[in-house]
């Protein structure tokens, strides 16, 4: 396997009113070509911060203070905006967590999907339109010909999320960072999307960093799993090992809290204590 992404000792900090706050505290991991690494972890544990750090798209008050991120042995930390422009959307794509605000409200869906195609693949507008329609079809958007003329606010949450996915997949990147890409999708469409990603992974050798809370999804697509807690990686390993032999108490708690569709047992609800800190800490 070829190494696609190597993150080493990454520290990402946010400046807040109370001072500097480390959202990511020196994590390291790798992604191979054609591999899917799922990041799971407590809400607020720095998953999105990690993803944004890789993209170089931290908000104004965020900064990578330490560590290195290498894409195919190319150091990304410290690259200029211009250099990153070449890579983003082309080599690495990202699906953002909140699709409502992530789409530009004043441009049509079509415009927003066409764009990376025209930038990176030098397509004409016509070609790009055809490809966008194809993409929308692939992510399960009905009536794509019409949808490309619509604006984000006219779409449902799930549709917007799929548009985001279509944008990210448009140029068939070598690395896809997906930050909770299927939260707003029903399971049928979700499985369609997961298949799509899987296909690209198989065919193109695309590497995937997949942030999700859905353990079912993790089980389905992950090669390896990384469990984050409070800005640190608490556990990392092969998906089977994580599911079958979790080591860290947080991971165990996490697995215990997965609701089971197949029976009525409400055990998953019991593992946590509502008031106070997460059960994992105790």
């Amino acid at each position: 396997m070829e190494r696609l992404l190597q993150v080493e000792n990454l520290v990402t900090q946010y400046k807040t009113a109370e001072g500097m706050f480390s959202a990511v505290k020196g994590i390291s991991f790798t992604v191979e070509k054609g591999e899917t690494v799922c990041i799971v972890g407590e809400s607020g544990s720095g998953k999105s911060a990690t993803a944004l750090s890789i993209m170089g798209l931290l908000p104004a008050n965020g900064k990578i203070t330490e560590g290195s991120i290498r894409l195919k042995d190319d150091e990304l930390v410290g690259k200029t905006e211009e250099q990153l422009q070449q890579i983003r959307g082309n080599e690495i794509s990202m699906i953002f967590q909140e699709p409502m605000t992530a789409l530009n409200p004043v441009f049509t869906i079509g415009f927003q999907i066409r764009e990376p195609l025209m930038i990176h693949l030098n397509m004409s507008k016509k070609e790009a339109t055809l490809v966008s329609i194809e993409l929308l079809k692939k992510v399960g958007i009905p009536n794509p010909k019409e949808k490309i003329k619509q604006f984000p606010h006219e779409l449902s949450g799930g549709m917007r999320q799929r548009v985001m996915i279509a944008i990210a997949l448009a140029c068939e990147p070598s690395l896809l960072i997906a930050d909770e890409p299927t939260t707003a999708l029903d399971v049928t469409i979700q499985s369609q999307i997961l298949d799509l990603i899987d296909d690209l992974k198989e065919q193109m050798g695309m590497g995937v960093v997949f942030v999700t809370h859905d353990m079912g999804v993790v089980a389905e697509i992950a090669d390896r799993v990384m469990v984050m807690y409070a800005g640190e990686v608490v556990e990392m390993g092969d998906v089977h090992r994580i599911f079958n032999h979790p080591q860290h108490s947080y991971t165990k708690g996490l697995l215990a809290a997965v609701p089971n569709v197949d029976d009525d047992s409400k055990n998953w609800l019991q593992g946590v204590n509502i008031h106070g800190k997460s059960s994992a800490s105790s």
Binding site: K15, F21, N61, A230, Y250, S281
Partner: protein, 298 residues
């Protein structure tokens, strides 16, 4: 590696909470330019207040033997005007009126404009009506309005402020309405509606703060126009009458001497510019301070 480490880098004891206003003010002060702006404004206010102690000639003191002196000539720091009056003295005395007129008329205009703009943008039903009133204010010639005010209210300085604020209303109203139209469609406004917030509350607490940026720009730029308009009004006989020093009127008076004694119009012009500069950068600073997303240097 346990949950206890969460947030442990934050200072254990959170800083004592400050009033929001104090905090905002501090953020404004952090902005270098805004700080300079505040200093300029303070200096002007001090000059205006202590004018009598800072000038060796009275603002009305004519000396027809030394008219149109240049800067620094014969003991006049900024020269003299066409009646031999000391420009420096007139400038600092003039600050009193110009600052008051500029500030209060812009403030009043804002109140009117904000009200109209918010209502029009928020309530579709009255939008047309309100905006046509705004058009009417726009189209109604300013001079005619001033003449009406003279005829009905007389010629006091308060009426100058009234006239100028009425002139500021329509522009402000349109700018606010434009922003409201797009902000009111945002999801968080819906969220407030679903919470049962009253319209007024939504307008004042949620829409208004989100359109402060254009308002601040408009208001600070308007200061210049307001101060300059006083000259047009004193031309009509409304407001400060000669020989009262007042920047707009000083510029207008300098018009005829632009070729022979340009300092007569340039000096008050620069004074206005400095004032507007100060208010603008303070405005910028304020806008940034009010914007939680503001760029923080790392």
């Amino acid at each position: 590696m346990s949950a206890e480490v969460v947030f442990n880098e934050k200072n254990a004891a959170p800083k004592k909470k400050e009033r929001y206003i104090v905090q905002t003010f501090k953020r404004v002060l952090k902005n270098k330019l805004a700080f300079i702006g505040i200093i300029i404004v303070s200096i002007q206010i001090i000059l205006a207040i202590f004018a009598p102690f800072l000038t060796s000639y009275g603002p009305y003191e004519q000396n027809l033997a030394v008219t149109e002196l240049g800067i620094g000539e014969e003991g006049h720091i900024l020269g003299t005007d066409n009646y031999g009056r000391d420009m420096w003295s007139r400038l600092v005395y003039g600050a009193r009126i110009s600052l008051i007129v500029g500030l209060s008329s812009v403030a009043l205009g804002l109140i009117g404009g904000l009200t109209l703009g918010l209502l029009a943008g928020f309530y579709r039903r009255i939008d047309g009506f309100v905006m046509r009133i705004v058009d009417l204010l726009f189209a109604f010639p300013g001079i005619l309005l001033a003449m009406l005010i003279i005829a009905m209210l007389g010629t006091s300085l308060v009426n100058v402020v009234i006239a100028i604020s009425i002139w500021s209303i329509p522009g402000c109203a349109r700018i606010v309405r434009g922003s409201v139209l797009s902000i009111k469609k945002q999801e968080y406004i819906l969220a407030m509606k679903s919470l049962g917030a009253s319209d007024i509350r939504i307008m004042l607490k949620h829409i208004l703060p989100n359109c402060t940026a254009p308002i601040i720009v408009f208001a600070t730029m308007r200061m210049a126009t307001a101060i300059l308009s006083t000259s047009a009004l004193s031309f009509l006989g409304l407001g400060a009458q000669p020989p009262t020093p007042e920047w707009g009127a000083m510029i207008a008076a300098g018009q005829d001497f632009m070729w022979t004694a340009p300092h007569m119009s340039i000096i008050p012009g620069i004074a206005i510019m400095l004032t507007v500069f100060a208010f603008n950068v303070v405005g910028d600073g304020l806008r940034d301070a009010l914007d939680p997303n503001m760029e923080i240097d790392l």
